[in-house]
């Protein structure tokens, strides 16, 4: 049917393969604006302190990315964060706050995140429930558990070593940077692995992936479990920062993690994008709040302006990628 008129497709630079580029562009712009408003913005101390504030969202957005790449979605991430936070802090507190108690708390927190992710994955992939509804429901359960474990915020504190370590430096490099470095290495290794290719295939076209002999169910479950893991890491970072147990601490992360992923260029339809974009997206969201704050915006307009900026960034992404697809 095509005869001689075959398409002469050439590999060229494409937004479909470098979906993070736009977010990077916006980020550069926002850094410039931020520098204009806050002249010490590029000082190491300020940058590290900013990064420390953004770290929980960065981690949670990374987790959400893997789920979305597999063409699913997780609306329970905020609740998982809350649950991990109260589990961790409660265990540390009840075991007396020594090193062993801290280790036990961290271990229990990570296990909680993994278990919550596994529960989501089993419901969605094995029982084939609809992802949005399912994770909304499991999120309600997780949030309920968190409230049951610790009904009131601030009544239990994380022991001192936790927040001391979190804000400490090792060999001159802050703990947060070390952690993000380890996470980056892990994400890079994962992105070069066979399971990651399978994840992208499942997100791209689930029927074709099944027909190609890929383990579809296992892959989707893995997406949710990894997301649970990153939620627990995000919750631990949050605990290190706030040093307190709060059953409502995670609520805002559900939607902001999805915003970060989308701002980072990952398609909600699955199979396109990556964690680098989401990291940039998370920083972008944080900087937007910064800019609004330092611009001295009256409190009552802050949400409005933040929403409009996010919308503009998204619209820009849509226009450019549509232009690029033609």
């Amino acid at each position: 049917m095509t005869g001689d008129g075959q398409s002469q497709a050439r590999p060229r630079f494409e937004f479909r393969r470098n979906t993070w580029i736009l977010a990077a562009g916006f980020l550069a712009l926002l850094c410039a604006v931020n520098y204009f408003l806050q002249d010490n913005f590029f000082e190491p101390g300020v940058m590290v302190s900013n990064l420390t504030t953004f770290t929980p969202l960065i981690l949670i957005a990374i987790g959400q990315t893997y789920v979305i790449l597999a063409s699913d979605i997780d609306l329970s991430v905020g609740a998982i964060v809350s649950l991990v936070n109260v589990v961790t802090v409660s265990i540390m507190h009840h075991l007396g706050g020594d090193a062993l108690a801290v280790a036990a708390g961290i271990g229990a927190g990570v296990a909680t995140g993994l278990a919550a992710g596994a529960a989501n994955g089993l419901c969605v992939a094995a029982l084939r429930f609809q992802p949005i509804i399912t994770t909304f429901a499991t999120g309600t359960v997780f949030a309920g558990l968190a409230l049951w474990i610790l009904p009131d915020a601030g009544t239990v504190q994380a022991p001192e070593p936790v927040w001391r370590t979190y804000s400490a430096s090792f060999v001159g490099v802050p703990f947060v940077i070390w952690s993000l470095g380890v996470v980056a290495l892990g994400c890079w290794l994962y992105s070069r692995s066979r399971p990651y290719l399978t994840l992208m295939a499942v997100g791209g076209n689930i029927r074709a992936a099944f027909g190609s002999g890929l383990p579809v169910m296992r892959t989707r479950i893995a997406g949710y479990v990894i997301c649970g893991l990153f939620c627990s890491l995000g919750a631990l970072a949050l605990t290190g920062e706030t040093a307190t147990g709060d059953p409502l601490i995670g609520i805002a992360f559900t939607l902001s993690s999805i915003s970060a992923v989308v701002l980072g260029g990952t398609a909600l339809s699955g199979g396109v994008g990556g964690v680098l974009g989401s990291v940039l997206g998370a920083i972008l969201l944080g900087l937007i709040s910064n800019v609004i704050f330092f611009a001295g915006t009256p409190f009552e307009y802050q949400n409005l302006i933040q929403g409009v900026i996010v919308l503009v960034a998204l619209a820009g992404g849509v226009f450019v990628s549509r232009g690029g697809a033609r």
Partner: protein, 498 residues
Amino acid sequence: MTVLEAADVHKRFGGVVALAGANLELAAGEVHVLIGANGCGKSTLCKIITGSVFADRGTIRLDGRAMRFRTPSEAARAGVGVFYQELSLIPQLTVAENLFLRRPPRSRAGLVDRRRLRREASRALERFAGAIGDIGPDHLVADLSADQRQVVEILKVLVDEPRVILFDEPTAALDNRQVEVFFDLVDALRREGRSIIFISHRMDEVFRIGDRVTVFRNGESVATMHIADTDKDEVVEKMLGTRIEAVERRRDAPKAADVAMRAEAIGGTHFDDVSFDLRRGEILGLGGLHGQGQSSLLRALFGADNAFSGSVAVGGEVYRPRGPRDAIRAGVAYVSGDRGRDGVFPVRPVFENFVAALLTRRRRARLDRRALSAEVGAVGDRLKLRAASLDALISELSGGNQQKVVIGRWLVNEPRILLLDDPTKGIDLNTKSDLYRILDELCMEGVSVVFYSSEERELLANADRIAVFNGGRVVDLLEGERVSELNLYRAAFAAEGH
């Protein structure tokens, strides 16, 4: 020696019987052709063998042992590979990633070895060098043309080096040169002792490459023959059944000779160089195998796809719709069997579904619910519509009654030309005969109909003339005495371009 055997396989999808006693024996090192009309269950059998569909009854034996693969991955590990008719490529991934999706080469660290991945993909692509244009391992599959994708799917099957290969219509979108390369590959595979099932509708290919052929009819395997001992006529005869009975014609050809629509050398996405005169009050059938351009033609004529080249006149005036709106205003209507996609507003009442197109035609008409209800009710009665009331949700109706509403929508609109795109897909016999009756009545009133159906008998019973499509072109126009099952099959199954 038999490598793969399917014995008495049965499968139903809801009310549709896909397989009703399929048998197949694949010998070691042979190319075994499966042939049969659309929808006779060939693809379903392939999917049952490779574990993506479960049979209701029957056994599959591999090397004499009964096997029941639960997933395509189990089949792949047992050395059974499949080329899917609908392809199994991931558009967002590159050619190289798609080729080695199941087992990408790994470095010693256990990570995907991207250098080797690209190198091995390039080597695989070389098999089709010169025949698939300029595609490399890093191209996204989304950017490939239909034939290039089919080539990638072929190579993807071969990457696993399966012992048993099922090719489900691998040549459908390939051009001649690509088919040559593919046949050379198949020859080489056969020489290596691999066993191949090959499904094709092109009779020439069947006789060129096959060792044996098994003919399917209505979900049953009716005969297996050595290619050397048979000919095309015998194969066609087996596909039709032994009795080639005359299909009862439902009505006389129209007398009127004025032309309602004239198409001259029009071309579009999947059709080319199509010309016809649609007479007033006639049903012009579009025949041929599924997906030979018939639906694309109808959608283009309705303005629902990209514009067509060439020229079309409706009632003597130039007709060049930029969208369905233009078509509707020119008195052209379109009904598709794909109700979910093209026809129905599912959670809205019957009434609204009826008047949807009217809103376009009578641009400034006030929506007088009472006057319209009378009009709509009359059409509903004429269609023998069974609905609780005009306020019932259309999704509560049976498929047949939904289809009546979709057709009724256009009757309210009083079209001059009705384009039917496989309109009876999935509806019951009673509704079908109601529709045939209505078509007759419409033709009496001077409406002209272009009717594509994937059911040959439906065409033969209703169409005055049949344009047979093959590879996007009209290869034969059956008229008068020549409107027969045999002629229809001959033209439909001929090699492309004959």
